[in-house]
């Protein structure tokens, strides 16, 4: 069996498993899983670009994905006129002041090289003054905005643009954040990047949870517009009514499946485009160079390649892909809930996908995204059933049995850890190993 055949078979098995859920549970459930599989695959492609192409460990996937979610709010939700009037301009001005302070700070830092050790002081003064200025401008604006109908709005809202646009903007947001982190942590020891990204992702989440004027914080932004029709609207169309009548299907289920299929179409399109772009990039001279750097940094730098700069490129690109996936996820949910971002689910699970799929191979990353998401979801019912079976011999009222059943859901964390460790140990190249070129 050739490689291609084997890999196609793996994908077919995967699709068959999703179809199996469709038959056993319901097609609605199967499509929900499938859509999230697609998004996970895109995220894991992003991580694979960083890890597989360049060996960079990004422990901040969660933060970049959440920035994508922020983009979805800012682009698509409707502007809140009252809050804009009350303090919108002032808030923007405050942000600009902050930005200006950063620019001046960097400028001061660069222009005071001659002061040597003493150059920390002017830069620090600029930073402190700039921060104070920003707070003076923005604080009153924030409290005004947040005071306006906090139960309904209390935030600025967005630009009322099509939410599809936010997928692009989400990528840009994530890329910008990645650029800053990369500038700081790349070029230092490899695990500093991991720690720095772990940090920035936590901070992004805290920011999104607490800056209510921008994101409504833990009050969540709900009811984001959709790129696809609503179920209710579909149910009223004549063609769906006649179609479901003809086949004797429930119109409610049919409309919901149709909506999910439209999402799946959109996501699959993005996935295919990104996959095609990454494969092309990997085969290009640029991709060859990246792999050369990954495999032997010393030799590559001896040949005059600026490694830190190349790493920065890859890091920003990969993060942009993650940001896009994050925006897509928020689009699918139709709401932005900052508290739902957990590092185990959003950062480390994606890592399991990449490693299990096969680091360095884009198709592997996609397959990993599918397989791991599928088991992440299905591990819960399976685990519960398993636990039920194990404890079936116990007394109905046994507290141990109750405890085991109650906590069976956490088995999936253990399972993921175990899968990761086993793959690393016994099949470190993953399901679809990187091709030797």
């Amino acid at each position: 069996m050739s490689r291609t055949q084997k890999n196609s078979l793996l994908f077919l098995i995967m699709l068959a498993m999703v179809a199996g859920v469709g038959i056993v549970q319901s097609w609605n459930v199967a499509l929900t899983i499938f859509n999230l599989c697609l998004i996970s695959a895109i995220m894991s492609l992003g991580v694979n670009i960083q890890w597989g192409y360049a060996g960079l460990f990004n422990a901040g996937v969660m933060g970049f994905a959440a920035l994508g979610g922020l983009a979805a709010i800012i682009i698509s939700s409707s502007p809140v006129a009252a809050t804009w009037e009350a303090g919108g301009m002032r808030a923007i001005l405050g942000l600009l002041a902050g930005l200006f302070a950063i620019v001046i700070g960097i400028f001061t830092w660069k222009k005071t090289v001659t002061l040597e050790k003493k150059r920390y002081w002017p830069t620090m003064v600029v930073a402190v003054v700039g921060y104070a200025l920003m707070r003076l401008i923005i604080d009153p604006a924030i409290s005004t905005i947040e005071a306006i109908e906090p139960a309904k709005t209390g935030y600025l809202g967005g630009f009322n643009q099509p939410i599809l646009l936010s997928w692009l903007v989400g990528g840009i947001f994530a890329a910008a954040a990645a650029w800053v982190v990369g500038k700081i942590a790349l070029g230092l020891r490899s695990d500093y990047l991991a720690i720095a990204t772990l940090g920035i992702s936590e901070i992004i989440i805290y920011f999104l949870k607490n800056e209510d004027w921008l994101t409504r914080g833990v009050k969540n932004v709900t009811g984001l517009p959709r790129p696809v029709p609503y179920e209710i609207a579909l149910q009223q169309t004549a063609w769906l009514q006649s179609w479901t009548d003809n086949f004797g299907l429930s119109i409610i289920e049919a409309s919901s499946i149709l909506v999910k299929l439209s999402y799946a179409g959109l996501f699959a399109t993005v996935l295919v485009i990104i996959l095609w772009l990454s494969e092309t990039a990997l085969r290009s001279p640029w991709g060859r160079m990246m792999r050369a750097i990954r495999d032997n940094e010393v030799a590559a730098s001896a040949m005059g390649k600026n490694i830190t700069w190349r790493h920065l490129q890859v890091f920003v690109l990969g993060s942009a892909v993650i940001g896009m996936a994050g925006a897509m996820l928020t689009t699918l949910d139709g709401q932005f809930t900052p508290s739902s971002y957990q590092p185990l689910r959003f950062t480390f699970l994606i890592w399991v996908m990449v490693i299990v799929g096969g680091s360095g191979n884009n198709f592997g990353a996609v397959l990993g995204g599918f397989v791991i998401w599928f088991f992440w979801i299905e591990a819960e019912p399976i685990g519960l059933q398993l636990m039920d079976l194990i404890t079936s011999g116990m007394d109905e009222s046994s507290p141990l049995r109750a405890h085991l059943l109650e906590n069976a859901a956490h088995m999936r964390l253990m399972t993921m850890g175990l899968i990761l460790l086993l793959v690393l140990r016994f099949a470190p190249r993953g399901l679809i190993p990187e091709k030797k070129r």
């Binding site: 920390y120 700081i184 720690i195 805290y206 690393l424």
Partner: protein, 337 residues
């Protein structure tokens, strides 16, 4: 004069006492990270969960002791359970090393491979802990809650500001001092301790000198397990035990280790206090302090907080970034044990 004393009491109550306790907890955590880094040469992402596991073990034994009617008088029963918690955590560390990390040592794996492996261990431990004790808060402190109560302090000094010292804070600081003293005595005074420093400093030369690497690694895990169990338990006593918090603690702990110079135990301790005090100083509301120190007419209206408390983790990140930019080797020029 009273104003100044009141200010001092205020700062003592909200910055110094909690800072010393939190700093001790971070320092113990960072010491564990530094120990693994110095000897096994990787950043251990599972360290937070190891602490969590140690705290959980201690909690379970505390409950068992409490159920037997055992108590430690004014001190928390958890202190009696702690030695058992330490032993269980050491067993976990040695077991993990035997089952997981040892293989990569024999392969001479890259540090980043270890890092990913430690992520796998983190996942597994996180699941195991939630499976055993559940994802919710557990409160397990007993004994007297305060060494010094606000009211008592006010009556004693006649000041309008109070200074409270929780038992857990006192216990934390004293335990940390004991543990750190023992650790430094071990590293600097005993033959085995010195051999560990030698191994961390120059692995090849240590091998040439006949130092057994597997033994060094084993002792490193024993120390790491001890530090993790103590740090996790003290944090849990002080703030209540929540399984998810330990993943968030990774950032300030790594920041502490790097700020001090990763691999350097002295640096880890200094880093822990730098991070703890910075967090508290930056997120403290200075309104009352200014009200005492400034004339009445100039008293501020706002909270006068540099950064909202929600952003306390951002402080450790900021310090981390500054250190990475200015002196990546840390205050004590790391990579020694």
């Amino acid at each position: 004069m009273t104003d100044i004393l009141n200010t001092l009491a205020l700062i003592g109550n909200f910055i110094i006492v909690p800072g010393l306790a939190y700093g001790s907890q971070l320092a113990l955590g960072a010491l564990g990270i530094t120990m693994v880094y110095g000897i096994l040469r990787f950043s251990n992402f599972a360290h937070g969960e190891t602490m969590s596991f140690g705290a959980m073990a201690t909690i379970l034994i505390t409950w068992a002791l409490q159920a037997q009617g055992v108590s430690f008088g004014v001190l928390p029963t958890a202190l009696l359970a702690l030695p058992f918690g330490i032993l269980i955590t050491i067993a976990l560390c040695l077991f993990t090393d035997r089952l997981v990390y040892r293989y990569y040592r024999s392969q001479r794996a890259e540090p980043v491979t270890y890092l990913i492996v430690s992520v796998g261990v983190m996942f597994f431990l996180g699941g195991l802990i939630r499976f055993i004790i559940g994802p919710n808060d557990q409160i397990f402190s007993d004994g007297t809650r305060f060494i010094m109560k606000v009211q008592a302090f006010k009556e004693m000094t006649g000041l309008s500001e109070g200074l409270a010292i929780k038992t857990s804070q006192g216990v934390t600081i004293i335990t940390a001092i004991v543990i750190v003293t023992l650790l430094f005595w071990f590293l600097n005074r005993t033959r085995t301790g010195k051999s560990m420093r030698a191994y961390s400093d120059n692995e090849d030369l240590a091998l040439l000198s006949g130092i057994n690497p597997e033994r060094v690694v084993m002792i490193a895990w024993i120390i790491t397990g001890t530090l993790a169990a103590v740090a996790g338990t003290l944090y849990g006593l002080d703030k209540s035990y929540k399984p998810f918090i330990f993943l968030q603690l990774l950032l300030p702990m790594f920041a502490s280790a790097i700020v001090g110079g990763v691999g350097n135990p002295l640096g880890a301790i200094a880093g822990g206090f730098v991070i703890a005090f910075s967090e508290l100083i930056v997120t403290f509301a200075y309104k009352k302090v200014l009200a005492y120190l400034l004339p009445l007419s100039m008293a501020p209206e706002g909270l006068m907080q540099l950064l909202s408390t929600d952003y306390k983790f951002a402080v450790s990140f900021l310090i981390l970034v500054i250190v990475l930019l200015v002196k990546p080797t840390g205050i004590f020029s790391g990579k020694t044990l």
